[in-house]
Every structure is written in structure tokens, then in C-alpha cells.
Symmetry: C3
Subunit: 348 residues, 3 copies
């Protein structure tokens, strides 16, 4: 787990749907290309899959991963069933983890647990993973864990849950606003759910303190309709993703390849951003050689503290370039990318 | 304590005022009808009653309850004196609780304690209730407790105070923004106090995790004046109450029967809301029978998680209908109400 | 530490800059007059001073304080180097504290520690002060401590850090938004950093519960340019300071004498505010003599709770008048000031 770990997109794909080809969406995720490849692909056995198709969902994952996982550029973490207040969900989830770890454990990066409760429940989920790992003969710590933050109990224990990550396989926390709003008894009185700003700010802080990944919630108004024509709601989703990026949420939930393509880009510095921050770093580096502490660039004071903000931008670009050179190649012009790869970072 | 417990309105009424009939407002609350009946009536011995009239306030309550309480549809919880940082307030409050429990305990549902501090102080208040209950010969747990959240110390301990509710008679937390703002040294620089969004979000979360009731703060701009005419500020109050409902605050503070009539309605699903949520539930129920996991209704994905939001609406209507059939009868047309009472709730 | 302690302004001044007179900004702060005198002057050895000039910064402070500190109306707390995640910073900071305590300890009110982490790290910094104090032969507790809240770890432990203040020399917490945003990985996507409302609200609450001082973050857009003319950004800074005052943040960070002059005024009640609150107090005092509990003034209910808000205004004016009579003399007309100094405060 490092600051430059990529987690721009968390794309859920129902692992079985009632079609002739029930693995349609799973296959689509596993074979996605370019900006449509999510950093994390999450084959969904939970809410996205009908109760009657849970077994087929597990089979589809076990069937498809050996063929597709080796060539997939991102990480793969299925979402299994779980609920802090429902034993039958935990039992089914435990069985799903066990089967997948046993059959395709070497192709998996971990599992996602929804509806966790207080710290004890998160510990239980981690224990399920440890057991499954051992039974499957996988090395200790192979399987990472992400949880969905969508209950009042988990929000209440958020700080302790994040501290638990230091000694555990917990590597990411994902916001689940729909269940969360329902648990709190919130109402979309004028058509909008609350954004839960306090929760998002705490999520960004506690995951940063624990050096794990924070992911925003899904955006389900996928399409708009006007005058009889339905179109992809690119504005609404980008607004949410940009807000998440602003407050330090590392990545965004995607329900569709188009959302993945957008979120991968938003969580990537723009050319203008990169040029601006590079210019400030270069100006500061020059001033530093002359022994000045505080430098004013374009009327803004730059010091060690502001410098680190600019260095973050450069480091992110370097990380994306390492695993997705086709994305950085498309996104930045050559001269700018070279500056980003070559500049000296005094503080970072 | 269940999810469907009604707590839409917390109406304070000064228990003694300097008039010929000093129990005027108390009587008015106890004999209110229809939508003006608060779910909780709070005869106020604290800030609403002048220091010189505290004894008369206690006497008024002891005098009026035997006549009116048996016919009153809501719960009755007097607010006594208390302050974490003032021993004389706690002593007077203790005496007020003792006298009322002894004289009219069988007509009371509990007491409200203002200006509590950290968890220890809340425990002390609970101990006062337990003692009074025993001395009055009431069954253990008869008297519930609500507290006003209006000090920095109580806000700091909010999570622990809510966890204490699991083993105690604490059943509700009410926000007190005026004292709270004063404690923090806040200023209404442009005429408006802060809304304290972080506190309200935490209050909604922690009370939900503890399964107790959360109530918003009073709205004291009761009246507006324009061109010489003073009128009830229906807009301002409704805006506040609607915001509270949106974020899952269960009920609102009322200072006036008109506010009670508004808050009872806002915390009740509108006909349009009920129809919309019923339609989604019915569409999902139909799709479920065909074995589909994720259903799109009006461009929005509906799954088990979103479903629960819609089920909340229906369950609230059923709870109100049980205790206030005249309110549901007035508020909904017959066909809609029948659908709400009859629909099958698959997840809830 | 009392409620009336003055901390309207926290002005940092680089203690050494690469000019002929390297103590230019330090001298300017120490000899400031009238509204430009900060309540706390913070000679900055950390980010405001170039790495090559740290020693000269310490020397400048040791050199200037004996001459200027005795006549300086505010408190003096140098900011030394420190970082929870950098041992070399802590070692240099420890040495800086030791030297200054030894050489000019009698002219210092304390020290400011940046980039502290969890409670343990804050304890360590307090230990450094205690050691330096003892070695310098200063009375126990002479040197106070303020910390900059600018890491995810410190935000996570904010409640515990504030509780630690009860048994320690910790007397103030200052927000550092630039480093904080960088730590969380936040981005100024549309040119603006987040305001971190949740953090500010928690900071106001926890410092109030601990009875210590809360200070907002620096505002670095010092100047604007239009049509070739650069001018002081008075609007932007005042907006930020007013927001801080509204939510009970006690004082504001200043980077410039003009900012100090503004923040000193904003954190001082306006004449209109003072007149309004005095009128309500006077009206309430009159009504109280007639035995009324709840009083309506201009359509707003005034009770003991609202009264305290008004009393806060009066008490603040009295505190400023005690130490800066020239400021209150300039700010208020004589009749108004006399009313503030003479009115009886029934509740406060």
C-alpha cells in the first residue's frame, strides 16, 4: 500500500444476469480496454445479482477468471453477500469466499464486504478471508479486503475500523449512500439524497491516516431523457467524481464503462493542472537554489507545504504512466509528460 | 423502541407563565387536537419558565395531568432544570423529578434534561430518574429520558452517550442550537446562526446506530412582519423541518401549535412521495417474480438497497395510521392509503 | 485560560529572509501599532524560513526580543520545526526550543509545533517544552504550546488531543489547510481548496470543550490583480475571517499587517452588533424584573439561552477594552462603550 497505488475506479459488474449469456457484464468488464478498464473490477454477487442467480454468479466468476484475469490490467475483488445484522447473509458470503478462493484464488486480489457493522463485524469478515486463504493454500495476506461503509454502526466505528487496517488486510473503504440513507431514515424530499459531507470528509481523513484507499458512492442517475431522447448523464457523474477528487477521495464507484472512462480521467491530473503545478515546482526549485524560503508565484505564496500539493500531482501522473502508458500518452502532450517524468521533487 | 416509533414533534410549553391563568400554554398543549397534537408534549420548567415561577410550574403539571393526560394521544415528558456545570440547577432538577414522579408518575412517559455534559453527567441524570422511579413505586424503566445536546462536552461525547442508550432509559436526543452556539463562541454576524451540519449529521448517525430518536432544534423566528402586518413564518420553519427530515432527523422541535401542525405533516410522507415509492415497490415486486436482480424504474436502478428507502416510507405511513387514523385519513386519498396498508414489503 | 482570553490574530512572520536586513518582517511585527498589533506574534522558523537560514532565524529572535518584547502588547510564540513523520525535523525543533528558552525564555509566551501527529506525538512535543523550561530555569508551565492541525493523524486524534489540554500546557490549536489537503490527497480542481467544514466545526467544538483557543488557517491569496494593477484582497480575507467567527473559531491566521488589522476588527463585535445585543439584554433585564420567563424582542424569543449569546458580545468588548483601550476607543462611540462596560449581566 503506497501513496501512489492506483484506485481511480471501482466498477461493479453483476456476475450473473437473466440473459442468454448470464456473464455478459462480467465478461465486458474483464475485457475492457483503454480508459474503460477500471483499476478495480468488482464482480457483484450481492445486490446486483438476483437471489435466484447467486450460485450462477459464483460459477461465472470461477469460470471466466482463468481465461481473462491474466490479461486484465486492474485488480479483481468480487463483492460477496454479508450483513452485520443478518446471519444468513454472512453464511452465504463465507461460502462464496471459500469457493472462489479455492477455485480461482490465484486470480483474485481480494473481496469486498457490504453492510459491515462495528469493528467486531469487520474483524469477523477479515477472519473469513484468513480462513479461506489458508484452506486454499494461498500465502498469508494474498487476499485483500475492502468494505462498504453503509451502516450507522460502521460510520460510528470508522476511526477504529481504519486503525484496524494497520494490522490487517483491510485496504479500502467504499461509501454506500443508498443503504446508508435508508438506515438513517433520510428522505429525498426534493428528489435529492443528502451528500453526507461530514461522512465523506471523515472517510477521506481516516483512510489517509491509515494509508488505505477511499472510494465514493455509486451514481445511479445513469441516463437522462429529454424530448423523447435518452442520453448518458455525463455531467451529473463528472460533478460527483470531481467533488470526490477535491476532498481527497481516491477513486469513484462506476456502474458503467462510460463512468469508468470518466472517473479514470477525472482522477488523473488535467494537462492544465499538471502544467500549472510543474511550473510552480520549477519556479520554486529555481528560487530554492537562491536560498529563499517563501516564494510568490502568480500572487500565491509557495512554501514547503504548498509544494507538496504540487508534487502530489506529479507523482500521480508517474504512477499512472507506469501501469497505463497508453492513457498518459493519450492524455498529455509529449513535452509535458517528459517534464513530469524528469522534474526533481525536493519535497514529497 | 422500534423503527416505527412516532416522534415527529417535540413541543415545549412553558408550564407556568405570568398570566391570570398561569397554565394557559400547558392546558393548550394537553387539549390540542388533530394535526396540532404533538407526538411528545414537553411541559417546560426550565428556560421557558421564569425563575420565580418554577414551583408554580411543577404544581401546574401535577394539577393538570390527572385530568388531561389519559385522553392525550402523545407522550408527556416535562423538561426540568439541569446543567452539567451548575450544581444548584441539578439539585432543583432532582427535586422537580422526584415530586412529579411521586405525584403524577403514572401519567408521565419520562423527563427531558437540558445542558448535559459528558457521559458521566448523562449517567447522573439517568440515576436521578432511577431513584425517583423507585421512590415513587413505579416499575423499573417506566420513565424514559431525553437530553438536550447543547454543550461542547456533550457533542464531544455524543458517540459514547448514544452507546450508553443500549443499557439505559435514554431514548432521545434533542439539539439545542442557541446554547450550543453560545458555548462555542459563535456569532450571528449576518443575522444567521450556523446550521451546525456536522453535528446534525453525527446526531442522525449515532442515534440511528443506537436506535433512539433524534430531534432538531427550535426555530425561534416564529413571526415575520411586513408593511405593518405580522404573520406566522410558515416558510422558514418548514424549510428547517424539511432539511431535518432529509438527513434522517426523526422529529422537529415545536414552539407553537402551528409549528406542530407543520412538522407533523412534513415528517409524514406526502401523497406524491407515497405514490412514487409504492409504484417503485410494486414494479420491483413484479420484476422480482421474474427473477431480475437490478431493475431500472424511470432511469433509476432499484435494488435491495434502494428498495429499503421506499419501504421506509410505507412503514412510516402504517405507524401513523395506527395511532392517528384521522391524520392519515385527511392526508391521503382512500385508494392510496389502501395500497400502502396492503402492499407486500419483500425487504424492510 | 479564560473565556475572555484574547486570541483574535495569529500572525506569522518569517524570522529570517534573504535581504540585507534579514529580520525585517520580525521587527515589523514586534513594532506594530494599533489594529496592526496581533494578539499572538509567531516568529516563523519553519516553512516561512529557507532551510539555509534556520540558524539565522533563531539568532534574529534571540537578538530582537530583549529590545522589543517588553513593549509588545501581544504574546510571542515562535514556530519551530517539527513533523510527526520526520525525526530530523523533531531534532532540529528540539534544539531550536532549547536555545530560545535558554536565551530569551523570559520574553516568550510559548512555542508553536507544526505537523504533529497522533496524541503521542503531541505529548512528545509537550515533553520537549517541559525539558527546555527546566533546563532554562523557568517556572513550570511558563511556556505554553500551540499546535498546527494539518495531518490526518492529528485530525483523527483531535478529541483526545484536546482532552490532553486539561492536564497540560496545550493552549491553542491552529488549522493548517495546505498541508492538510496535501495529506488527504485533495485537489483544487476548480481553483479552490475545500473549506473542510467538518474539521472546522469539530475544532470549534473540541477546543471549546477543553477551554483552549481555536485559530483558522492562513489565507494566501493576499493580492489580486486587475487591468495591470495589483491590490490587497481585502474581501477574500474578510469573508474567511467572518466565517470563522460565525462558527466560534476564536481567531484567524494573518500573513500580513493588513490581515491583522482586519481580523482584529472582525473578531471584535461591530457597533451595530453591540448595540443590538445590549438592547436585548436591557429589554430582558427589564422584563426579568417583572417576573417573565420568555420575552419576545423584535419577534425573537429571548430566554436564558439566547441571553448568553448576547452576554458573550459584551464580555468580549470588555476584554478588548482592558488590554487595547485605543482599539475600543476608535471602534465604538463613547455612549455605546459606556453601556457595554456598565450593563448588568444576569446570566453569563
Amino acid at each position: 500500500m503506497t501513496d501512489t497505488r492506483l484506485c481511480r475506479t471501482f466498477q461493479t459488474a453483476p456476475a450473473a444476469v437473466p440473459r442468454d449469456d448470464s456473464a455478459k457484464f462480467l465478461d465486458s468488464g474483464l475485457t475492457s480496454e483503454g480508459f474503460q478498464t477500471p483499476d478495480w473490477l468488482v464482480p457483484d454477487i450481492e445486490d446486483g445479482t438476483a437471489p435466484s442467480m447467486k450460485d450462477e454468479a459464483v460459477e461465472n466468476i470461477a469460470d471466466r477468471l482463468p481465461d481473462h484475469a491474466p490479461d486484465f490490467a486492474g485488480e479483481i475483488l468480487p463483492r460477496v453477500e454479508w450483513a452485520y445484522d443478518g446471519e444468513e447473509f454472512r453464511e452465504r458470503g463465507t461460502e462464496q469466499v471459500r469457493r472462489l478462493a479455492d477455485e480461482v484464488g490465484e486470480h483474485l486480489d481480494g473481496f469486498v464486504f457490504p453492510k459491515v457493522g462495528r469493528l467486531d463485524d469487520v474483524r469477523d469478515a477479515a477472519g473469513v478471508l484468513a480462513d479461506a486463504e489458508r484452506e486454499a493454500g494461498l500465502a498469508d495476506g494474498t487476499l485483500e479486503m475492502a468494505i462498504i461503509l453503509e451502516t450507522a454502526a460502521a460510520r460510528s466505528d470508522l476511526r477504529e475500523i481504519c486503525q484496524f487496517a494497520a494490522d490487517s488486510r483491510l485496504s479500502g473503504i467504499v461509501f454506500g449512500p443508498v443503504d446508508y440513507t435508508a438506515e438513517l431514515g433520510g428522505r429525498a424530499l426534493h428528489g435529492e439524497r443528502p451528500r453526507w459531507d461530514g461522512l465523506l470528509e471523515a472517510l477521506s481523513n481516516e483512510t489517509s491516516a491509515a494509508d488505505i484507499v477511499a472510494i465514493g458512492g455509486p451514481f445511479d442517475q445513469l441516463f437522462h431523457e429529454r424530448a423523447g431522447v435518452t442520453y448518458y448523464n455525463a455531467e451529473g457523474y463528472a460533478d460527483q467524481v470531481e467533488h470526490e477528487a477535491t476532498i481527497g477521495i481516491d477513486g469513484s464507484w462506476s456502474l458503467h464503462p462510460k463512468q469508468t472512462a470518466q472517473a479514470n480521467r477525472v482522477h488523473m491530473p488535467s494537462g492544465e493542472e499538471l502544467d500549472r503545478d510543474l511550473s510552480k515546482i520549477e519556479a520554486f526549485n529555481d528560487a530554492k537554489r537562491e536560498g529563499t524560503g517563501a516564494v510568490v508565484v502568480d500572487g500565491q505564496m509557495v512554501d514547503e507545504a504548498t509544494y507538496k500539493n504540487f508534487a502530489n500531482t506529479v507523482q500521480k501522473v508517474r504512477a499512472i504512466d507506469e501501469s497505463h502508458p497508453e492513457q498518459t500518452g493519450e492524455h498529455y502532450d509529449d513535452a509535458l509528460l517528459s517534464r513530469a517524468l524528469d522534474v526533481e521533487l525536493i519535497f514529497n
